[in-house]
């Protein structure tokens, strides 16, 4: 005993004097060279660990000792490196091999740094392969639709891509692509999102406990990262489905002949420059337009020809160049539009009159970003970005007429245009610093120049020798400046306790008015047992823009407007408490309760069904809201059957009682999307290497609407609203629509040809709404009856993908 004590005492100085060294590097995919986000890196035997950042970079600072690294990532074979003596700062690049059979050891490793052990709560990382396996309407895989299946996230009405996260509205979600915010993320009135799953590498959702580096929205952060591109060879997919056709191509760019020759000789030379391009377009209109033209011409005996249609397209492109292990430059581009068009031609059949009319309505996003990443040393990593993002919509209606009478021909033409846009120019820089393994520090700053251009209507005409070109309505261009700085510190003093705290501070300046904000964030994790964690969090958020929309579908005319002197910024405070439990390294259970309080929300006043950008402030009221609930997520990531069960119980209320801005007479009322119960079950089963099947079941209590339960007649002024009646509404959103439920099924078959086994053929079959439940899209009263309008019955679909 004495000797033991002496030994311990003698070795203490050695322990105290032991130096710390940093191991750092990147975790990449062996096949493509793609850097992996969120991979777990654990150092044995101390079990100190971390995860890779958005650039695939990790950094661990450990005491001088014998170390063995263990690296794992979902969908990849775990990597266990040879033990080595850590006596200096060391760079280790980890290369992982794809393996879809997830092993328990991967889950265990992951849970050592994420899930149970992570201080971050209310966050979910959804693997892109899981998203691709979820059955979807028309076979069109959709990232936002997959996120809607998570607890705490509610969809709007049938088919809508709108997201209502913990009682917040659809404009309270910060959706970013490669760090750039997108204002409108919907195609086809919200039935599909703008994200092409083939171009996406990683998706992370934050519903609460927002890291201090994020700000600008109240309810959620969705961080979507695009793939850099295959560094070792050329690959691609061509998918033909009922909704759209997609093509993705990625590969390296070799700048010298030697590397190019090595590639051709299959020597596996990694390209320093990679590209990734994905494009998608619907094809329905290409088939229907000529048919419509032929039919209308036939029915009018050649007098009139009408064509028209709708389509949407996306283009995602990314170019990445790695200068060295310390420097990387990338450029991202997204361009997508929805287009509705019509052309009507009236032909001259001898009466001397002909006319042509063209209409084109398009709306969409364009964004571009240049990103520079630099590793200063093993402990400090920097990402700097300049970017722009723009959302716009245009309507153009043009008419040409020609009339011949008494040998004289008169021509006239007229074009009316209607457009609006919002554009941001951004610059941001972010630092990550890991001085020791107990400390992880993030800090940075960003600046955004906002331009809001509300509607502009212009008319140009040329008739009867008169011509004019005039702007009928020109909304004032609004310019705003937004600047933010943040600091965030994660401190792990011991294994059972971890603390994360931070501050996001900002200034928003518009029209001579400046709005400051200080947004504290804090999160704590306690680990009473190895597989059980208790977490607490608090976050304060501010939002300086609103989306004015009064419809359950995503309309292109949904307008983004900034705060004004009369309409202050929205603020939200959210507190959450939860437990996370790892069950036998097979299943992870998390249960969270939250309370959220929101102020300065805006809502349309009674009778306001639309907005004119000139006077939108007069049509809205400012008020408050609150939401609380409990969420449960049971997730399985290992074994042939994977998936999750998510359940949410919640209440969401609003109250607008400020003087002159009362709604519902100032009394609290249910929010439109106050769904008390929400259940999602999604399962995927890998039968063998060739076949996999999937099923998704969704159940939710109905959303809310306003119904006039009583009617009267106005005898005094003899005035009515509907026919002979005056409807009496005693409370806004007093009616709960019928419950929503549906089952989706899917099956995927992977085939390789005998002649060209390197090519893969994937056939996906799915059935949306398999038991054909007519879920309500709208409910309305007609006569003595209540009616519901449903959109989608059972919809089978099939798609084919050729992978090369």
């Amino acid at each position: 005993m004495k000797r033991c004590l002496v030994g311990i005492l003698l070795s203490l100085p050695l322990v105290l004097l032991a130096k710390n060294y940093t191991i750092n590097g990147y975790v990449t995919d062996k096949q493509t060279g793609e850097r992996l986000i969120g991979a777990a890196v654990i150092a044995m035997p101390t079990q100190q660990g971390t995860t890779t950042n958005n650039s695939g970079f990790y950094s661990l600072t450990i005491k001088e000792d014998s170390v063995q690294l263990f690296i794992s990532y979902v969908g990849y074979e775990p990597l266990r490196l040879e033990p080595f003596l850590l006596n200096q700062d060391t760079v280790i690049q980890a290369v992982l091999t794809t393996n879809t059979e997830l092993q328990e050891v991967t889950v265990e490793a992951h849970s050592a740094v994420s899930g149970v052990h992570a201080v971050q709560m209310s966050a979910v990382e959804v693997p892109i392969n899981t998203i691709k396996g979820i059955p979807a309407i028309g076979g069109e895989v959709d990232i936002l639709k997959a996120i809607q299946l998570l607890p705490g996230v509610q969809s709007g009405t049938e088919g809508s891509a709108g997201m209502y996260v913990r009682g917040g509205g659809p404009d309270e979600n910060l959706i970013m692509l490669d760090g750039v915010p997108l204002y409108s993320v919907n195609h086809m009135l919200g039935f599909f999102s703008v994200f092409n799953a083939d171009a996406v590498k990683n998706v992370t959702l934050y519903k609460g406990n927002f890291p201090a580096r994020y700000g600008g929205r109240l309810s959620s952060i969705i961080d979507v990262r695009q793939k850099d591109g295959d560094a070792y060879g050329y690959h691609g997919n061509l998918t033909v489905g009922l909704i759209s056709t997609k093509l993705s191509v990625e590969g390296p760019i070799y700048w010298n002949k030697k590397d190019w020759q090595s590639y051709k000789n299959n020597e596996g030379i990694k390209g320093q420059t990679t590209f990734n391009i994905s494009a998608r377009r619907t094809l329905y209109d290409l088939f229907m337009a000529p048919i419509a033209a032929a039919v209308t011409a036939s029915e009018s005996n050649g007098q009139e020809t009408t064509t028209g249609g709708y389509y949407f397209y996306d283009l995602n492109a990314k170019l990445t160049h790695i200068f060295s292990e310390n420097d990387k430059l990338s450029g991202s581009l997204y361009w997508g539009d929805d287009v509705v068009y019509a052309r009507i031609r009236e032909n001259d059949l001898g009466n001397g009159y002909s006319a042509r009319m063209k209409m084109r309505y398009n709306w969409g996003n364009l964004f571009g970003a240049v990103n520079y990443e630099h590793r200063f040393n093993g402990r400090i990593y920097n990402t700097t970005q300049v970017s722009f993002t723009r959302y716009k919509y245009n309507l153009s209606v043009g008419m040409n007429e020609s009339e011949t009478a008494e040998s004289k021909t008169t021509e006239s033409e007229m074009t009316m245009r209607y457009n609006s846009y919002i554009m941001d120019l951004l610059a941001q820089t972010n630092f990550e610093w890991r001085p020791t393994n107990k400390h992880e520090i993030h800090f940075g700053a960003n600046y955004t120049y906002h331009m809001f251009r509300p509607q502009v209507q212009s008319l140009s005409a040329n008739m009867d020798a008169l011509s004019y070109d005039t702007t009928l309505v020109a909304g004032q261009m609004l310019r705003a400046h937004e600047a933010n700085i943040y600091f965030e510190h994660t401190y792990t003093p011991c294994k059972w306790y971890r603390l994360n705290y931070g501050l996001h501070a900002g200034l928003y300046h518009i029209n001579g008015k400046t709005y400051p904000s200080l947004e504290p964030r804090v999160g704590m994790r306690f680990l009473p047992y190895k597989d059980l964690a208790l977490k607490l969090s608090y976050a304060y958020m501010s939002q300086y823009v609103h989306m004015l929309s009064n419809s359950s579908v995503s309309l292109p005319t949904d307008l983004w407007v900034p705060v004004t002197k009369n309409i202050p910024p929205m603020r939200a405070m959210q507190a959450a408490v939860g437990i996370t439990y790892n069950i036998c390294n097979q299943v992870e259970l998390s249960v969270e309760g939250y309370y959220k309080r929101m102020v300065n929300l805006i809502e349309y006043k009674d009778g306001a069904s639309y907005l004119s950008a000139r006077n939108w402030e007069e049509l809205v009221s400012v008020g408050d809201g609150w939401s609380y609930g409990v969420e449960m997520l049971l997730q399985r990531k290992v074994g042939p059957v994977t998936g999750w069960i998510g359940y949410t119980w919640s209440r969401t209320m609003r109250q607008f009682n400020r003087e002159g801005q009362e709604i519902n007479f100032g009394k609290p009322f249910h929010a439109k999307y106050d769904r008390e119960h929400d259940l999602s079950v999604t399962l995927q089963y890998q039968i063998n290497k060739k076949w996999e099947i999937a099923a998704t079941f969704i159940y939710g209590t109905g959303t809310r609407g306003t119904l006039a339960l009583q009617r009267t007649t106005d005898y005094l002024f003899n005035d009515q609203v509907n026919g002979t009646e005056v409807p009496i509404i005693e409370e806004r959103n007093n009616y709960k629509m019928p419950d929503y439920h549906r089952l989706d099924l899917g099956a995927t078959c992977h085939l390789h040809g005998k002649k060209h086994p390197e090519f893969e053929h994937v056939v996906n079959m799915s059935v949306y709404n398999a038991y054909c439940n007519f879920n309500p899209f709208l409910v309305y009263v007609s006569g003595h009856n209540l009616y519901k309008l449903s959109l989608f019955p059972i919809i089978p679909s099939v798609s084919y993908t050729f992978k090369f």
Binding site: Y418, Q710, V726, P727, L786, Y787
Partner: protein, 346 residues
């Protein structure tokens, strides 16, 4: 054309829609008594309608008129703190058919500004309802034309609208919301091709671009309408002399071929200045919004699309009746009537 275009857009997106009736599974509310009455300064007779509401899935057809008045109700009125007085039912018949039925009472003295009136109605099958109003002062205004000449009120401008100029002086009363409404009977003489004719019409729509008219929807509204009567409201706090220019547009008969308007004679014009209590104004405003009776001359794409998807927020009709529905309004009017004022030849 624009609307048709938007309908094409809607149809393209609706892959397969289905309408079907559903069972109502929500709260079933019971009918309540409905009180509708209006009182003015100087009234010696008070009139009130009492009826009952009905559940939206019951009773009357959407398109036919069914009488839900309650002649068997007991209706009483109280002035100040005096005793309650019972109102009597009165039925108006015409050719053997009932054309009107209401409760009425003759007062000992005319209603005075500032006086508080209470009404209550009861029936054995319904909760007793009550309402209270304070009589508002009758407003006073003098009308002048824009050239500073009294009694030369109106000018026909561009043969498309009548311009009415008012000099508003010393409106001292702050207990009410002031509005103005107009009824103008015109005789329009026109020529269509070689044919000459004239058309009579009565116009009640007025508009103003004047800053004095409230256009904010916070506490006062630029415009409301009851039945076919339009009314413009002033900004609250107005009290000083100010020239107010109103326009009364009338039909330009563009539906006739080659029409040329020769002149317009104003047979008669009634300008009414109305002082409303808050309840009176709020009821009128909510009824107006519920009918969505906007006059939007600009094409607003957002409005069109939102309208197509039927997603407007429903309007809650204002009521100040406790335990029931309806309105007990105080509105005092000051009218100016002019006859055969002017004929203008273009």
């Amino acid at each position: 054309m624009k609307r048709a275009f938007l309908y094409i857009l809607t149809l393209l997106f609706v892959l397969s829609s289905c309408e079907r009736p559903i069972e109502y599974e929500g709260e079933i509310t019971e009918p309540k008594l409905v009180l509708q009455a209006e009182v003015s300064e100087g009234d010696t007779i008070v009139k009130a309608y009492v009826s009952r509401s009905r559940f939206f899935l019951n009773d009357s057809s959407y398109f036919t008129f069914t009488d839900y008045r309650m002649p068997s109700a007991t209706v009483e009125i109280q002035r100040g703190g005096q005793a309650w007085q019972k109102m009597h039912t009165r039925t108006i018949m015409n050719k053997g058919r009932q054309v009107d039925q209401y409760f009425t009472i003759s007062l000992d003295s005319a209603l005075r500004a500032g006086e508080t009136i209470r009404i209550r109605a009861s029936h054995q099958n319904y909760d007793t309802i009550t309402a209270e109003q304070t009589i508002v002062h009758k407003p006073w205004c003098q009308v002048w034309d824009f050239n500073g000449q009294a009694n030369t009120l109106f000018r026909v401008k561009n043969l498309s609208y009548v311009e009415l100029s008012l000099l508003l002086q010393n409106y001292p009363y702050e207990d009410a919301i002031l509005g103005v409404s107009v009824s103008c009977a015109l005789d329009i003489r026109y020529k269509s091709g070689s044919r000459m004719d004239h058309q009579r019409e009565t116009v009640t729509y007025i508009r103003s671009y004047d800053q004095l008219i409230a256009n904010s929807d916070n506490t006062t509204a630029g415009q409301t309408s009851i039945g076919s009567r339009y009314e413009l409201f002033f900004h609250p706090g107005y009290s000083n002399a100010y020239f107010l220019n109103l326009e009364i547009p009338y039909s330009n008969m563009s539906y006739l071929p080659n029409v040329e308007i020769l002149d317009v004679t104003i047979d008669s014009m009634t300008v009414s200045f109305n002082a409303h209590s808050d309840a009176s104004y709020l009821y009128r405003r909510s009824m107006y919004k519920a009918r969505n009776d906007y006059n939007d001359s600009d094409f607003d794409l957002g409005a069109e699309m939102s309208d197509i998807f039927g997603q407007e927020e429903d309007v809650q009709i204002y009521s100040n009746v406790a335990n029931g529905y309806g309105i007990f309004a105080a509105c005092s009017r000051y009218k100016i009537v002019k006859y055969n004022v002017k004929t203008v030849t273009q």
